[in-house]
Each structure stands twice: as structure tokens, then as C-alpha cells.
Symmetry: C2
Subunit: 395 residues, 2 copies
């Protein structure tokens, strides 16, 4: 009855899913356990507590639910805003469009502040928008498929527009909830949820958390939970209802598991294994973010030397967990993806509708940037060889 | 960095999650793969096709989505009925209550036909209800937490109230969609979706399909897809929107993966491994259902000999994948669960609110009833010993 086949594994270097450590994969193969077993509860509780560490959010309530990152948008839209209320969406591409769609599905009135391709909305534009109307919440994508994060690493430390946006809202519209779509940022970009006045971070397992896909992760501030509690209308979803999940999360954290819907038990073991490495392993959490920054710089420099141009218009705003670059003149993205594939490296094509056929995306996050591995060097070498091959073919 | 610990595994014999074959667990530990990789697409396509076989539903459209079984209720409620329309819920316990809640969340007007504990609504009552009003859909739970399935194995073959209910609706209210909540029935109970006029089977990975939890599985008839297409109001969910998922499922089946939300890649490899065993392995699919029936009879007989009494009031309506039984006089369920636990066997307590403290639940489905294993014998022996121990303590 044995039918499991294992073919040679290609190195997965896309902006998620990403490579997982063997410990994480083994944990995902854990023998079946009851979702309400006292032996399983500590793993669930561990994940809840560790996520607070990863996001520097000691006061936030993590929700770990079977689903995709996308489910996080429904959680926000169904729970933290009511039909007819206003939402402000800072739109920098594909994921901004989709979050706006999701909010409108639940009856929110969406105003968008759009950024040019590769850019980000200016703080002035956002401030003007916030002063014009009253918004129940404001959303922004922390790492964009086209460009990426928002961190500015100055000599004075870390400054990010996530921080600036959180502070801006606190100053000019303190009742507005701040929602950070961090699906492609959690655990690869430094996010100080509590200090930065971020009410919800929307995440998923398969990006910086280096766990297989299938888990929606959201961390919610006490302020947002109060908004939930004081809703005038019922939550417009059954499965994506924080009111149903809140007692479940609290029960697991107290090691007295309760039931609403069966959690993805094996994926939670896998997430636990990865979070152990992230929050207790060496390098430390702080070092880990630094390693992401260094790996990103190294790869971006190598790509630029080969003629690739970052989609991000301001290089200092580029993400640290991924790189989106226009391919050099004379190279077709599919040919490049193919040439890398034949070298055992998987990268991703474009997603932003305006420039889809002109750029490619690389992932360098999670376990792939761990000092024990050399994935980034392999990727640089592979890219150099692939470019040479593709250029030769088209010459 | 290696921190994976494996403690002695207790045999998991609850009504889900259930034991998984090692091939399935290994597939769940598959190295990371892109969700849109041409190497992954055939596994997704395989699952779609195999689910049609398991449910005898060559014309149905399976949807495989990251989530829990519960998400299937949202899929039905958000897509196949509109706010203000009527739903008829045949309620036989905990899961009937919840499905009704879910439908009301999306604005449906719910009428319930309630069954007494351990019983099921009579066909006459259902017919009377169907004739009284016009219903967009009718739901029923195929295997109930208290009693269980609805199959009557007569000498003339398989007859089930699922079949009778499907035929009844076709006769008296042909426009009403028939929704079978089969979370605890898919792959352990014979369901002929197409022939029985069932429009949606709601399932999950962690029951008869013997795969870890984290996958919502629903199979939808062409009639139901037409209802979806002809909706007058938009689908009231973003993540649980069949219109967004339909092209994705079709793309994967055509081996040209498309993106809406990241699928649970590893769990789909695991599901594929299990579906291979179920649909291609030995025993055959038909034999597999027969083995479930035999295992069920054997276990129920042994339990009755020990003084347990089935919650199902008509024994011929009992499920084949699980057994719910009142504990004998003088035995406390927690003591029994504990005594079995110390023998390495995990069973479940009660769920139905009226009798929660009086009964226990056993699972005997999926790989646990495979002829290569002896889980049912181990469970019987364990139960005999545990009963003797608990009786002695209270004597």
C-alpha cells in the first residue's frame, strides 16, 4: 500500500509558500491527535504566546484558524466594521484591490488612496484622507507583491511607514482601527504591533513563519476587540466570526481546549516547531530580522548587477523578505523562470495587473535566510547562470 | 536546532480526527512546493476527480478549500440561498442547531423539523413541512454526533434516509436544493450523491477520508451551481464565495493552476495519498464501505454485551463510522475515558446538550478499519478491561 514518491526537490524561492525546516515538516507528519486532547493543547497555547513575541504585541489576541491568508480579510471585514461604515484602503496593488473587494462584500463603504506602481501613498495624502471623513478602519499592505515592505533602516534604528501610519492615525483619527495586511511580512519584517498602534496584523503560515500553508493568523488589539464587543449589528459570517473563536483561543491558551470548528492540528504542530526556532533558537528574533535585511541587500545588489531593476521606486522602501524586479531588456520572464527551474530553483512571475509580464518575484525569507543554509547564494549563482543562458539563446 | 519530539502515540478512536496511514502523514511532510507549480497541480486535480468517485457524483463539482468542515456551512449559506429565503433544517442534534445558526447568519429564514434525542425526523413530517412552504434548500446531518448515520442495510442492498430524503424532495419540492452534512460520513458511509438527488455534500478531511484536519470539502451539483449563477444578490462572503473558487477548481483540474487564495498544499498531498488508497487500493471502494459496516456491527455488539446502550433509538439507523452509547449504570464517562486513555486509546465524550454527561463516542472509520490493522479489536479489548477496572473502583 506504500505509494509515497519523493522526487528531487527544487528550492522554493518565491514570496510564499517558502522552504520549511525538516523539524517543521516532521511535525506536520505528527500522528493523528484529538483536537481537544490535553496533550495537544500546550502546542496550541505555545503558538498563541509565541505569535505575541514575533509581533511585539504582548496585549494582542492571536487567532489561529484553518484557512488562507485571505480569510484574514474576511475576519477584519465581517467583525471590525459594520455595513454602511467607511473604510480607508491604502492601495498599492493587487492585494489592496482585493482587500477593498472583501470590505465591500460585507457592506463597507471603501475610499481608496492609490499609489503609483512601485510607490506608496504619501503620508500627506493619507492624512488628508483621514481628515476628510470618519473611518471605522484603515488598511494597508505591508509587503506588496510588486514592491514590498515599508521599512526604512536608518542609522537611528528601524523606521517604517507602518509605524508612521499607526502614529498618524493615532494623532488625527484615534478611533480608526489600523489594519496591517502582513501576510508577506510577519516574521520576516520587524513589526511592533503594540508600540506602532496597529490594531490587527493579518498573516498566514506559509511566508516568514516558514510553515506549510493552511493557517490564517491574525493578531487583534484589545481596542479592536472592544469594537467587536460593541457592534450594533451581528457579525456577518459564521465561520469567520471572532466572537465564536475568542473563547476557543482563550480556552486553548488556558490548556482547557474547547470546540467550535476543528483546528488544523498537524499544521499547528508544524507552526509550533517553526515558532520555537524563531523565538527561542539561534539567531534570536532581533538577529533574524537583521539577517533578513542583510540577505535582501545582498540579493538585490546581485540582481541589479545583472541588469534587473527593482519595481520599488524608492529602494529604501523595498521589502526584506522578497524582491520584485523588472527583467533586463531582451529577457522574457517565462524563459528566465524556466532557466532557473532547470537549475532546481523555483521563482515566481508577476501579479500586478499593469506590469504582470515585465517582472519576476523572488522570495528570501524564513528558514531560507538562516545562517545554516546557503539558499541566497544558490539563488544568486542560479540567476547569474540563467541570465547568461537566456541571453545566449536570444542573441 | 532539531527539537522534534515523538512521544508514544495513543490510538485515536474518536469520530474525527481519525488515524492516518503513514503514507498520508509522510505526504503531509512533503517539502515546500509552490501552489501554482505544474508539479503540484496533478495532485490537486487527482483529489478533485477522486472525490467524485468516493461520492458517486460524476457530475458534481468538488471544492477543496483550506478550512474546517464548519466552513462548508458558510459555503452553503452564503452561496446557495439568499437573504429572506426559506431553509428547512432537519435537526437531530448539535450539528443541526449549528447549521441553522449559520444559515440565519446569512439572512435565511429557518424552519426546523426536530427529532427526539437519538431519533430522526420522520419522512412524513418532512413531507408535510416541504408542502407547507417553499424552501430554497433543505439540510440534514447524515451522521449525527448523538446517534449517527441513516443507513438501513437491507437484504435488497443499501437504503438510506439520505436516499429517501433526496427522492422525497425531488417528488414534492423539486426546486429545493438538498444539502447533506456529511462531515462525519464522507468515505465511511456509502453516499450516491448523483443518484440520490443530493445537491451538496459537506465534508472535511479528518473523518472517513483519514487525512489530517484543515481541509473543507464540498461537492456541488450542476443544479446548485445554476442557482449560484442566477442569484439576484451578491454572495455574502469573500473567502467563502464559490464564484471565486469555481474557476480555480476548474483550472487545477485542467492542470493550469490559478490563484485566489493559497491552497493548503501539504494537506492536499496528504489527501491525495489517502484518496489513492480509498479509490485505487485494495479493498475496493465498495468493499471499504462493507468493511465499515462489519466493523461497526462487531464493535456495537461488543459494547452492548458490556452493558452500553446505543443512543440511536432504532439500531438499524446507526452510523457505520462511529458509535455513540450511554454508559452502563455506575460508570462515569470521565472515568471510562481515563481508563481507556491509560491503555493508550483515545475516545470522545458527549456533545449533545441534553445528554452530554451520560454518553461517550467511539470512532471506527477510515484507515482504522482497514484489514491490515486491528484497531477495532484493540478498542474492544481496551473497553472490556477499562470497564472492569472502573467497575472495580466504584464497587
Amino acid at each position: 500500500m506504500s505509494s509515497f514518491k519523493q522526487s528531487a526537490h527544487k528550492l522554493l524561492l518565491i514570496p510564499g509558500p517558502v522552504e520549511c525546516h525538516d523539524d517543521v515538516l516532521l511535525a506536520n507528519a505528527h500522528p493523528s491527535m484529538s483536537h481537544v486532547s490535553p496533550a495537544f493543547a500546550p502546542s496550541f497555547a505555545y503558538c498563541i504566546k509565541a505569535l505575541r513575541k514575533v509581533l511585539y504585541a504582548p496585549t494582542a489576541q492571536p487567532f489561529i484558524i484553518a484557512g488562507s491568508g485571505t480569510l484574514g480579510w474576511d475576519l477584519v471585514a465581517a467583525n471590525l466594521i459594520e455595513a454602511g461604515q467607511n473604510a480607508l484602503v491604502l492601495n498599492s496593488g493587487y492585494f489592496g484591490d482585493s482587500f477593498a473587494d472583501c470590505l465591500e462584500t460585507y457592506g463597507a463603504k471603501v475610499t481608496q488612496v492609490k499609489a503609483p506602481v512601485g510607490g506608496r501613498p504619501s503620508l500627506e495624502d493619507v492624512e488628508a484622507a483621514l481628515k476628510k471623513d470618519k473611518y471605522a478602519l484603515m488598511t494597508f499592505t505591508h509587503v506588496r507583491s510588486t514592491k514590498a515592505a515599508s521599512e526604512v533602516d536608518t542609522s537611528t534604528g528601524v523606521l517604517s511607514d507602518a509605524k508612521a501610519l499607526g502614529e498618524l492615525v493615532k494623532r488625527v483619527s484615534p478611533e480608526t482601527l489600523v489594519i496591517l495586511d502582513g501576510v508577506c511580512a510577519v516574521a520576516s519584517e520587524e513589526i511592533h504591533q503594540d508600540d506602532w498602534n496597529i490594531d490587527v496584523v493579518v498573516g498566514a503560515s506559509q511566508k516568514g513563519l516558514s510553515t506549510p500553508p493552511g493557517v490564517s493568523i491574525t493578531t487583534v488589539s484589545t481596542k479592536a476587540l472592544k469594537v467587536l464587543e460593541n457592534r450594533k449589528t451581528p457579525v456577518a459570517s459564521y465561520f469567520a466570526n471572532y466572537k465564536r473563536w475568542l473563547p476557543i483561543m482563550q480556552s486553548y491558551e488556558n490548556l482547557t481546549p474547547a470546540y467550535f470548528a476543528t483546528p488544523p492540528v498537524n499544521l499547528i504542530y508544524a507552526l509550533e516547531a517553526s515558532l520555537k526556532q524563531i523565538t527561542e533558537g539561534s539567531p534570536s528574533l532581533e538577529e533574524r530580522f537583521q539577517i533578513h535585511r542583510e540577505a535582501s541587500k545582498k540579493f538585490k545588489k546581485a540582481a541589479e548587477e545583472l541588469g534587473f531593476k527593482q519595481v520599488a521606486t524608492e529602494p529604501e522602501t523595498a521589502a526584506n523578505g522578497m524582491t520584485a524586479v523588472y527583467v533586463p531588456e531582451g529577457i522574457a520572464p517565462p524563459a528566465l523562470v524556466g532557466a532557473l527551474g532547470s537549475r532546481g530553483i523555483v521563482i515566481a512571475g508577476g501579479l500586478h495587473k499593469d506590469i504582470k509580464t515585465k517582472y519576476v518575484r523572488f522570495g528570501h525569507m524564513g528558514v531560507s535566510v538562516h545562517p545554516s543554509r546557503n539558499d541566497v547564494d544558490v539563488m544568486i549563482k542560479g540567476l547569474q547562470d540563467a541570465v547568461a543562458e537566456v541571453k545566449q539563446q536570444s542573441a
